[in-house]
Symmetry: C2
Subunit: 68 residues, 2 copies
């Protein structure tokens, strides 16, 4: 796992909690698998920029704010 992926994962988890949704709801809204959201938050996924923007759109935040 890269430190970068871990840092991004933590930021997404933090933003998800601020937004007040579960991993399941985020996955549903972003049209991805729930386990994928879990892996992203644990820093196990090297996100694409497209997916970063998709998650940021669902979480109603600036994608740049999800980068360390």
């Amino acid at each position: 796992m890269s430190e970068l992926a871990e840092a991004v994962g933590l930021k997404i988890r933090h933003q998800r909690k601020i937004f007040g949704v579960s991993q399941e709801t985020l996955a549903h809204l972003a049209k991805v698998d729930r386990s994928y959201v879990g892996r992203v938050e644990r820093g196990e996924v090297n996100l694409t920029i497209d997916m970063l923007y998709k998650l940021a759109q669902v979480l109603e935040c600036d994608p740049k704010g999800l980068l360390p």
Copy 2:
């Protein structure tokens, strides 16, 4: 091609020119294939965040500055 990938590609090209290196030099420094840099700049690649950071490191700029 996604609009997002195209916008990121244009920003990378712009930053590369400010930094004053060719696609070939950027590719060499980022340890990727020269044709890959061309495809990235044309918006044909859905970059990963890792690669965004690697290119930003070579171009000595903020990775967030390469996002639209």
